[in-house]
């Protein structure tokens, strides 16, 4: 035999997951577990069964995520460090938000979110700059800026969570309960999804496009907080005091985020299809196949999470309003969005449609989604008791 036996064995035998893990991965797992244990030992007393359930599911979830996408590890650790720093700076007095430098200019939720906003806009510029000049370096800067924005944004949410308890223990709640907070969430999730695909496909050319949506969201966020001082922390209305909210809303925003991403990759797709074939944009954008593939993957991911989110929403409704389905405008629009993408998936998958029409549809899909997410709150009244503009 030309090849020695054990060589063949090691070649053939699938190295199992755990043997592929590096020391860093085990460290990561250790830290997450320790953190969870600490949280439980400190606050377990105040947790009800559901919260314990959520904790015990998020812990392995986070570990797995960090193993699957390594970049999550440094990201999560930095956010944790910053958040703890912010909390420590507060030292149990909300007044410090204005007094302490580190809070006033960095880690109080408001300032952190401002940083996020600024960094996202800068990242958008950088990505486009990189695309136009074709400079690898500028594009890399874009990625770093995006990571920075994501760090500040999530830190902002974490600190805000703490602040809500600081203002008045009765107010305390996870910050996914009004339009201001979910807009931050939207920016974060969309940004993370993008960076995931950026790493996966080793291509930064799409950054500007995706970040464009995020910048738009940031614009709204700023208008909303300055015009309506929506960044004020208010207690929850009774209808929102439900553990369902804690999972329903984030699941929803994974959906919204992915759909937004898909729409923007489709925009790129359309530019490449209709743009002049020798134009530098056309040349620097990824291949149509790749764009199409990302679009499909994003819509699939969004659809999957949106399905879950809608189901969770129904279960929540069953508990809050006495019926799992009331054809309330928000519910109905969620269904519309969902059906729309179901149709899209069927066309692409079962009829094998590809190309410009599907790209156009994905773009339209974003507007449908946008209406479900904003328009309903603005124009239609319903049972959904938050986010009135």
């Amino acid at each position: 035999m030309s090849v020695p036996q054990q060589a063949i064995d090691s070649l053939i035998e699938q190295p199992n997951l755990f043997r592929q893990l590096k020391l860093a991965d085990w460290l990561w797992a250790g830290i997450v577990l320790a953190a969870a244990a600490l949280v439980f030992s400190r606050y377990g007393g105040n947790m009800d069964a559901y919260e314990i359930g959520i904790l015990s599911l998020t812990t392995p979830g986070l570990i797995a995520l960090g193993w699957y996408w390594k970049a999550i590890q440094p990201y999560a650790l930095t956010v944790a460090a910053f958040s703890l720093l912010g909390i420590w700076l507060y030292g149990g007095d909300y007044g410090n938000a204005e007094k302490v430098f580190g809070l006033r200019f960095l880690f109080s939720s408001q300032s952190a979110v401002m940083w996020m906003s600024a960094l996202f806009v800068m990242a958008t510029v950088a990505y486009f700059g990189g695309l136009f000049t074709g400079s690898e370096f500028i594009q890399k800067t874009g990625s770093s800026l995006t990571w920075a924005a994501l760090i500040m944004g999530l830190t902002g949410l974490m600190v805000r969570w703490y602040e809500s308890y600081l203002i008045d223990p009765e107010f305390g709640h996870i910050p996914v309960s009004n339009l201001y907070e979910v807009f931050i969430l939207f920016c974060l999730i969309t940004g993370l999804l993008y960076l995931y695909y950026e790493g996966r496909y080793k291509n930064r050319a799409l950054g500007g496009f995706v970040l464009l949506v995020i910048s738009a969201a940031v614009g709204f966020l700023l208008w909303y907080s300055f015009e309506r001082d929506a960044d004020k922390i208010l207690p929850l209305v009774p209808a929102l005091k439900s553990y369902w909210m804690k999972i329903h809303v984030p699941a929803n925003f994974v959906g919204y985020g992915s759909f937004a991403l898909a729409a923007m990759t489709s925009v790129a797709y359309l530019l490449k299809t209709y743009g002049d074939p020798q134009g530098f944009i056309t040349l620097r954008l990824p291949t149509l196949e790749m764009l199409d593939d990302i679009t499909y993957k994003a819509i699939a991911l969004g659809f999957a999470f949106f399905t879950i989110a809608t189901i969770l929403g129904a279960m929540w409704a069953a508990e809050a309003w006495g019926g799992y389905w009331s054809w309330d405008p928000k519910e109905t629009w969620a269904l519309i969005v969902w059906l729309n993408y179901a149709a899209w998936l069927h066309l692409r998958f079962s009829k094998g449609w590809r190309g410009a029409p599907m790209a156009w549809w994905a773009v339209v899909g974003l507007f449908v989604t946008l209406f479900a997410f904003l328009g309903v709150n603005m124009f239609l009244s319903g049972l959904h008791s938050y986010g009135e503009l």
Partner: protein, 671 residues
């Protein structure tokens, strides 16, 4: 009648066609939009006002006011259901084949035609190559089947069959959901049918439950329903009301629900923190009643019937009222009232009806603080009522019990409006230093008292005449006379009245001056009367600024009275709040079914997206002196790009494990 098989076949083909499926998905989506734009299940009168009689009828006939249970919409959903069902039926045989058959009998030609393939000639004997191929595929998690012919050996493997289960779960899940929600839980459908059969007829009048005829009642045995009922504290009910278009049905419950107490807890900001009710369930089939507490997001599920805290309102609070007739404030009278009751009153032998509509303990309003910033603040209890005259005309009022502080001066506030569409216009009655409204009322009766008016008019004119040392009796009378006239005019018709008189008596160009003069005169008289009022009250010495502030406020108030509409000012002196808890009560046997379907759907979608059904074939041909030629091919039904790189990795393994020389590789791998 019987239809030819071809017709059936065509029908099935049509129902199962992807085009229909996609069209249906879009149709449902677009149809659903209507109901979100046109607010559903509002009082029909609202629709009539909004659209006018013509469109109102058209929309009504289209069932747009309760669209989601309209026949045409249910029909579309049924179509979707059929489409999915047929589709699953049609795809299932094919999928079963996919799952069962490893295709170990595939022809070499067809394999060689495949997009992903590697062919190499190996040093291994065909048996060894066979064993090796099995080992590799097994290690990769493939299930394999072998075909050993003397001319060649085929190892056919596949993995990721769960993908096809995903298809079943997704679509059967949808079917389960649609059936669970559409059949088991569809109370409105059952009602529709009963209506068609003439067994049911919604009640449209607002009458006591006891008087609702049997044809508008549903028995406690009814399988599925969703309705609501308001139960005042301390009362019990064994019925709920199901809204049906412009009417309602009375649904009986298998038990009595008693509301012991309803509570609203508030945050420090005054925002409501929780709504909860202490309930007692009286169930004849149980030895003793069940006491429990429900709150928003924390319903009670009792024997398959769920009771939710939906909303709340007044349950007939008891109030003590004091009525001051504006045209004779001294004749004030007390009365006891109960919210939701009417009371007949007479004033100057005119008939009025006082309808008490609502009591509110908290009123969180935007109040302008001294810093000029408006902030939310609780301004205490209020009572809402209507005063209806003999002709049936009514004005609506909202009176606040406790005085409200505006820039240091305290007022009793009463809002008035003609229709719910208008905003309230407010009457501010200033409070005297003692914190009562006596001074205002005395002042009011003084300016309505002819002798007093004349007396004080005389006094003031004479003093002013002496000061100016003029001796003109006729002028004096003139002044006095006009003072009296203007004062009466003002106290009966307000400044409106005065202006009216001016416009009647003077030409355009003189009116401004006239108004000036009139106001001076009127003001002099009113001031005199106010001083008189203070005297009666026993205030000695010069009136303070506060007193003059009070005077100005009083004049403002008097000015508004003529347009106020009610002959009384109604003051709430005390109350006993009785709240009603708004309960939503549902029975939905389909819920577990729907949830089960939902889980299937969710699991199915993930399997569909994230599991790919992959096949690998290894075709081994024995060659002379114990060598063999090996062809490896593969295919996947999902994620081609990923399969490309996977196949690359796999062929690497095959090459190293068996190859001597690689004849040729075909793969569209990206790297």
């Amino acid at each position: 009648m019987k239809s030819s098989p071809t017709a059936v076949a065509r029908l099935i083909k049509f129902l199962g066609s992807m085009n229909l499926a996609i069209s249906l998905l879009m149709v449902v989506a677009i149809a659903s939009i209507i109901g979100t734009i046109l607010k559903q299940n509002q009082p029909y009168t609202d629709y009539e006002i909004k659209f006018g009689p013509f469109w109102f009828d058209i929309f009504k006939s289209l069932g747009l006011y309760d669209m989601y249970s309209a026949a045409w919409f249910l029909a579309i959903l049924t179509f979707l259901l059929l489409s999915i069902a047929t589709c699953v039926g049609r795809n299932t045989p094919g999928i079963l084949r996919e799952l069962r058959h490893f295709r170990e009998n595939a022809q070499e030609k067809s394999l060689r035609a495949m997009k992903h393939q590697l062919s190499l000639s190996s040093e291994l004997s065909s048996q060894d190559a066979h064993a090796m191929a099995q080992r590799i595929l097994a290690a990769q998690g493939f299930k394999t089947r072998q075909k050993v012919a003397d001319s060649h050996i085929v190892v056919a493997g596949m993995k990721g069959r769960a993908n096809h289960w995903g298809y079943w779960f997704t679509h059967i899940g949808m079917i389960v959901i649609l059936l669970g929600a559409g059949i088991l839980d569809n109370g409105s459908l059952a009602i529709r049918i009963a209506e068609w059969e003439g067994k049911l007829k919604p009640e449209t009048r607002t009458i006591p439950v006891a008087e609702v005829p049997a044809i508008s009642q549903l028995p406690a045995s009814n399988a599925a329903y969703r309705g609501s009922v308001d139960i005042p504290e301390g009362n019990r009910a064994n019925v709920i009301f199901l809204p049906v278009r412009d009417g309602y049905l009375v649904q009986y419950l298998p038990f009595d629900v008693e509301v012991k107490d309803f509570r609203v807890e508030h945050y420090s900001t005054g925002m409501p923190k929780s709504f909860e009710s202490d309930l007692v369930i009286h169930d004849k089939s149980e030895p003793k009643p069940l006491a429990t507490t429900i709150a928003v997001n924390h319903p009670l599920v009792y024997k398959g019937i769920a009771i939710y805290q939906a909303n709340f309102g007044d349950g007939g609070s008891e109030v003590k009222l004091r009525l001051y007739p504006f045209n004779n404030p001294q004749a004030a009278q007390n009365m006891d009232g109960k919210i939701f009751s009417d009371y007949n009153l007479t004033r100057d032998n005119k008939q009025y009806k006082l309808e008490l509509n609502d009591f509110r303990l908290f009123n969180i309003n935007d109040i302008e603080g001294p810093d000029g910033k408006t902030k939310k603040q609780n301004i205490g209890p209020s009572i809402t009522f209507k005063v209806r005259d003999a002709t049936g005309q009514a004005m609506e009022y909202q009176n606040y019990m406790s005085p409200i502080d505006i820039k240091g001066q305290r007022y009793l506030i009463s809002g008035v409006r003609g229709t719910p569409a208008e905003p309230f216009r407010y009457l501010h009655i200033p409070l005297d230093p003692k914190g009562g409204i006596d001074r205002f009322m005395t002042f009011l009766s003084n300016i309505q008292n002819p002798e007093l008016v004349k007396k004080s008019a005389l006094a003031t004119t004479q003093t002013s005449m002496q000061e100016t040392a003029i001796q003109k009796p006729e002028l004096e009378n003139q002044v006095v006379e006009s003072m009296v006239r203007l004062t009466n005019l003002f106290s009966s018709k307000g400044s409106e009245g005065v202006m009216q008189e001016i416009t009647e008596r003077f030409p355009e160009n003189q009116r401004a001056n006239a108004a000036d003069a009139f106001m001076k005169v009127l003001n002099a008289s009113l001031r005199a009367l106010y001083l008189e009022t203070l005297k009666q009250e026993g205030v000695t010495g010069e009136p303070s600024d506060a007193d003059w502030q009070f005077f100005d406020d009083s004049i403002m108030a008097v000015d508004k009275i003529s347009a106020y509409g009610s002959p009384w000012f109604l003051q709430m002196t005390s109350f006993k709040q009785i709240e009603a808890s708004g309960l939503q009560i549902t029975r939905s046997p389909g819920k577990p079914v729907v949830y089960f379907g939902s889980v299937m759907l969710a699991v199915g979608v993930f399997l569909l997206f994230y599991v790919a059904h992959r096949r690998i074939w290894v075709w081994i041909t024995p060659r002379e002196n114990n060598r063999s030629e090996v062809v490896v091919t593969g295919s996947s039904n999902r994620n081609q790009p990923e399969f490309d790189s996977y196949f690359n990795k796999l062929q690497g393994i095959f090459q190293q494990a068996m190859a001597q020389e690689v004849n040729h590789v075909r793969s569209t791998a990206s790297d």
